[in-house]
């Protein structure tokens, strides 16, 4: 793509999220979300391939519906209570519709069905932008609404379970990452009413871990488990570290991914929601299974076992590896800093 046009789209993405971050009026927030959608659709459809075009169409339709629901909820609240402030979404019907609209934006169950198909149709870079950057603006709105809702906890628990169960039958890496995203967002939303700073910490750590996974897959140029199994021949070093990245996504100590889950479970028990904490912790095991399957395929199927695919050409990586190195380090070794992070963000 023409570099000037590509930079316009990337600046548009930054602009949309920034507008939503700094808005205190619902209409401005809606405009930021719309600008985000408008900017990323051409990035998704830039390869004029049936898969990417279908993915961009599905993404466009779902995000436009969600934006329309957000606009409708804020307009209804303004009619009834006269308030356009983001904190002052007081009418219960508006609050519910707004929550559903934002849930559709981020892919929270039961409004998650578009996410695996859309992510499958994108190349890894655009998939990375969609999984990480596009979640920031809706979360900024969710964190500013003061919600007190059992529907939200229900959706969060459903997300963790559906994210776990849905990913079990997948062999395509992008679909696995989509279900992983659904599960992580379930964890984030679970604790939103009780401690929004924990949601922010979980979101940031999720972004680092997802960044490292996508960079890893981009470096190995793999999109399915079979070709992932041959990554040991392309670069043994990162193949040795990648099970740790995957287990960090699964939330095992002493890796970074354990920190948010630990803090969330602690917060839930403080709020006396022990059954919900147990159910969520058990559903994290489902996601852990497919992360383990990925690490098994990468590291425990070396020769002289039979190889799953024919050997691929091994070219030197031309892309900069600094993203992978920094994000890997952050997603493996940040746990000791967790108390400091919580103090800063609280």
């Amino acid at each position: 793509m023409n570099p000037y046009i590509m930079s316009i789209f990337l600046l548009g993405l930054g602009l949309g999220t920034t507008i939503t971050f700094m808005s205190s009026h619902w209409l401005l927030a809606w405009m930021g979300l719309e600008i985000n959608t408008l900017a990323i659709i051409p990035l998704m459809a830039q390869h004029h391939h049936p898969r990417s075009v279908e993915a961009s169409t599905k993404y466009f339709l779902t995000q436009a519906t969600a934006a329309a629901m957000i606009l409708f909820a804020s307009s209804t609240n303004a009619w009834i209570t006269g308030q356009w402030d983001i904190n002052e979404l007081s009418h219960p019907m508006s609050s519910t519709i707004m929550m559903l609209g934002l849930a559709l934006k981020i892919g929270l169950a039961p409004l998650h069905t578009w996410l695996p198909e859309v992510l499958q149709g994108l190349d890894l870079t655009t998939g990375l932008i969609m999984s990480t950057w596009q979640k920031l603006a809706p979360f900024s709105l969710l964190m500013q609404m003061n919600l007190n809702n059992s529907v939200m906890i229900t959706m969060a628990i459903m997300s963790t379970m559906i994210g776990g169960w849905g990913g079990l039958n997948q062999t395509q890496l992008r679909k696995i990452l989509a279900y992983s995203s659904i599960a992580h967002i379930g964890w984030m939303i679970l604790v939103l009413q009780f401690s929004p700073s924990l949601t922010l910490i979980t979101l940031m750590i999720y972004i680092f871990m997802t960044l490292s996974i996508f960079c890893l897959f981009k470096m190995n140029k793999t999109t399915s488990i079979n070709s992932l199994a041959m990554s040991w021949s392309k670069s043994p070093t990162i193949t040795a570290l990648s099970p740790l990245i995957l287990l960090s996504l699964g939330g095992l100590p002493p890796l970074t991914g354990f920190g948010p889950k630990w803090m969330i479970l602690s917060e839930l028990t403080k709020q006396d929601l022990n059954m919900i904490a147990t159910i969520t912790a058990l559903s994290a095991l489902l996601s852990l299974y497919f992360y383990l399957r990925l690490s098994y395929a990468m590291t425990l199927t070396l020769s002289p076992n039979t190889t799953p695919i024919t050997n691929q050409w091994r070219f030197n990586t031309k892309q900069p590896t600094i993203h992978l190195s920094i994000s890997t380090m952050l997603s493996l070794m940040l746990l000791p800093l967790l108390p400091g992070i919580m103090t800063i963000i609280n």
Binding site: L27, E34, P50, V53, E54, T57, F60, A64
Partner: protein, 81 residues
């Protein structure tokens, strides 16, 4: 003001339902999306964004027809498991 408010809410709900129910052609879906954009008092401000979105939708429709050959939404199964 009471009956007018109810009418607007009913209109929005119906248009949202028609949008969500799977239609045979993508073009119908895009037309419904246009209707949803006319729902607020700040019509000039949002007409711009709604028009941009409509243009994007039409560009995607052209792209879909060029790559898939039709716009029958039910037949888009390239990405399903």
């Amino acid at each position: 003001k009471g009956p007018k408010k109810v009418l607007v809410i009913v209109a929005t709900t119906i248009s949202l339902w028609v949008f969500v129910a799977k239609r045979k052609h993508l073009l119908n879906t895009l037309l419904r999306l246009e209707v949803l954009g006319y729902e607020s008092y700040f019509i000039l401000f949002f007409l711009t964004l709604a028009a941009c979105e409509g243009a994007l939708g039409l560009a995607l429709l052209v792209s879909i027809v060029r790559s898939h050959g039709n716009d029958c939404f039910r037949k888009f199964r390239v990405l399903q498991c």
